[in-house]
Symmetry: C2
Subunit: 253 residues, 2 copies
């Protein structure tokens, strides 16, 4: 069934609502860039007029899905999204199933252990047990990133659909060799070293259900020299063992 172009010039598949699409577009735009953005800028990027965007934002604000900075009048995402997300995660079987393993994994690897999920082209870190290294002064607590920038994101991205390689190349801004892409798809674990000041290495393994469908990712992160000392393979084995334990437990969902 073909998409229909509404008066907005934006596609609205039949049986869906243009107003919901508009709101979703605004939430998406607000999720990129600074915490608060000007209404007129949002209007331009959404392809809508300022009064339309004003009404949409005002409606979203009414339910705390969006908030307005009183000083600058600019708009940003709202706290109700945090509550809805918490409700969603509190019911996610894969997270409940992984929960008893995380502290033990941290204890044996001495690294920061996280659970990651793929949402669109983003990787989101949905649970975490902090490692034992250091004082936590420079604790990296980013919850979302572009998927292909992280080991966990690459593991999930490569397994999401067979033909995501082109998309991954666009996101990275460079070519991915056939060999490297195959490694992302099939290697029991992947490893990335941050190219920022943190010198953090991340090791990630897929967590699959009994049908072989990848649900989430388990990852361990620590300083690169610490990982070199313990050995990537050793840490990966701990993660793989936990993932294997769960395989029979997790139904598709």
């Amino acid at each position: 069934m073909e998409n229909v172009t509404g008066r907005l010039g934006l596609d609205t598949p039949p049986g869906t609502l243009g107003t919901i699409r508009n709101a979703a577009v605004l939430l998406h735009l607000l999720s990129e860039g600074p915490a608060y953005q000007p209404l007129t800028d949002l209007a331009e990027r959404a392809g809508l007029t300022a009064p339309t965007v004003h009404r949409l934002l005002r409606s979203l604000k009414q339910f705390n899905l969006v908030e307005q900075d009183p000083r600058s009048s600019r708009y940003g995402l709202g706290p109700e999204l945090v509550r809805l997300s918490a409700c969603y995660l509190d019911r996610l079987p894969a997270l409940s199933a992984l929960n008893p393993y995380l502290v033990q994994l941290r204890n044996v690897t001495k690294a920061t252990v996280q659970v990651a999920a793929l949402v669109g082209t983003s990787v989101v870190y949905v649970d975490r047990v902090d490692g034992e290294d250091g004082s936590g002064l420079f604790r990296d607590r980013r919850r979302a990133d572009i998927a292909v920038r992280t080991a966990a994101g690459r593991v999930l991205f490569a397994r999401a659909a067979p033909s995501m390689r082109g998309e991954a190349e666009r996101m990275l801004g460079l070519s991915i060799s056939e060999e490297e892409w195959q490694q992302w798809e099939t290697s029991p674990y992947l490893c990335t070293r941050a190219d920022d000041h943190t010198s953090i290495t991340e090791i990630a393994v897929p967590v699959e259900d009994s049908a072989g469908y990848t649900l989430v990712c388990l990852s361990a992160s620590a300083a690169s020299d610490f990982i070199a000392q313990e050995g990537e393979d050793t840490i990966a084995q701990h993660l793989l063992r936990a993932a294997s334990s769960l395989r029979g437990v997790l139904g598709h969902g």
Copy 2:
């Protein structure tokens, strides 16, 4: 300006959109109860017809704000909420400011340290550093709760607005004495002991900005006998000290 009753019999304040209200109502309903709920049930509780709810859910599904369980056809919250929430939290100044303190607080208190925020009548735990007790087999990883059930929730709730006592009583299903309510509002810290099998005690302190506005809560949780041994006051002092350090740093936002 008075609310206007639309054809739905639901209030839509002027200048806001009924369709957004409907979607927000559905997201709210989906955040309560089981992970997946029947469409006809949602329709009844929202006061909308099944075709309307179907179109709304189909639209929300298109943007991953909602998902449909392929086996039961029932609807649930979607993963895009997790990504949006992560984006929101990654830009929250209070969280960034608190981040360097959390591991140190855990180290000195030996308890699980968390940061909590109030969203409506819910308390949501938005960051966490796990304590050093035990194997983590029975790790309590709930991210959202009814505010008045937890120490952090009570601290935030009592400071949210002057006249929330009645609402708190409704939520608890019992009366709150003037003395107890005043304690929630003004005590430097609050303490609750879970009445479930976990025997976990939580100690919570407010984190305020330079204007005295309560942004979030810092809490420490551990087994009740562990807390008794270390002393509530001692643990609370550690939290209060961290909260004080931040007071000058955090602008109103």
